[in-house]
Subunit: 215 residues, 2 copies
DNA sequence: CGGGATCCGTTACGATACTG
DNA sequence: CAGTATCGTAACGGATCCCG
């Protein structure tokens, strides 16, 4: 199942592209940076053909970028240690994409897994991080943000650790903050519902502020 | 001549890939980071089909990544300001590629333009840069390295500014140093010929050392 | 119903020959 | 030198089907 026409050039860039340069491959990896995902989650989030997704998952497994898990009887796919090393690459790709004109008419609604990687990188750039576990409810979906001295992790879904702070918002508003179209102050005042742990809201706000300033 | 199947997703990564995600596109940009290039230089360096190169150059021109120049009667292609913004992206791609197994049997000999971008980024990471213009003769080709307080530029070919130091080596040896397979000391002693300006060799050596340490 | 596999029409790519 | 033109092959996209 190897590619018929790899570059096979004496260049690390070409080597990287031989592994992650195929259509859809980097977008699959992007989604997996939000944590393990099932076949259907990936397919629906990306809107790609199922046969292609099957092929890509097999290729990524062969190259050691991902591994297949069994999560309570169901298959799931997760990044390996090698696959996780695509984080800075995807971040720079994202930074370059931000220089381009925004998409006039997208084919699909936004994919929530998209935001995990940039959020994690931005939060990790903060030096004075609080010890805090946040559950973020966006539309019907859940993210867990764990901040500690070791770093920040952002995962799709609930984690076993209890959350200090539970907040709810919508994808549109959260994205507006991430892209700088809405101030954190307005976001906090109008579009953020504190479900639990309001005394930790200040720590969350300063963390977000610092991340925005650092990126 | 637009693509029939762009991603058109609400995600900066997908937007970036809609512009630079096609086969060969990032490798063309990589070569152009070494300075303007003619059609044939690109074709020979990459070993790609001429019709595809024509298509890619047209697409990159349409998206504002490159522009066509007329260099003494001949066409040439150069990065625009937007195109130059792919530098960090290509750097991270290169860093990730360095994590992978080296290519066992490459289809073509190394492309000298390949080294300009990583060399420039590495040299730019040095804080105490000397004011120095270096002409680097590798096999039959020439690079010009201009170091100043503003930064370091690495260009394929000769520049109009006179060189303080002219040195000659081979691609294999230079690559060995870049990949850490040969020490700078051994390189300088055995595989580097000083053509002119030996008194500036010390500044060059300390610049290279600092770059190696920083990357 | 989740997790794919098969089939088929369309598009993109690769190699080479040819032209202004 | 700088591309076009042509053509065979591989990859992609969409739909349908299959299997536990």
């Amino acid at each position: 199942m190897a590619r018929k026409h790899p570059y096979q050039l004496l260049c690390p860039i070409a080597r990287a592209l031989d592994v992650v340069g195929d259509r859809w491959t980097l977008l699959i990896l992007r989604d997996l940076h939000a944590g393990p995902a099932r076949f259907q989650q990936l397919q629906e989030g990306l809107g790609m053909a199922t046969n292609l997704l099957t092929t890509r998952l097999a290729e990524l497994t062969d190259t050691g970028m991902i591994q297949k898990l069994d999560v309570d009887g169901h298959n799931a796919y997760a990044l390996t240690e090698l696959g996780r090393k695509t984080d800075l690459l995807l971040w720079e790709l994202s930074q370059f994409g931000a220089e381009l004109e925004p998409e006039p008419d997208p084919r699909r609604p936004g994919n929530l897994r998209t935001i995990a990687l940039p959020l994690r990188i931005a939060l990790n750039s903060v030096t004075d991080r609080p010890e805090l576990t946040i559950r973020l409810l966006i539309d019907d979906e859940t993210f867990t943000i764990v901040s500690s001295v070791d770093g920040v992790d952002v995962q799709y879904g609930e984690s076993s650790t209890p959350a200090d702070l539970i907040i709810r918002t919508t994808y549109a508003h959260f994205l507006a903050v991430g892209e700088g179209r809405m101030s954190l102050k307005e976001f906090g005042a109008k579009h953020l519902e504190v479900v639990e742990g309001p005394k930790h809201l200040g720590a969350f706000a300063s963390l977000m502020n610092a991340a925005r300033a650092a990126v």
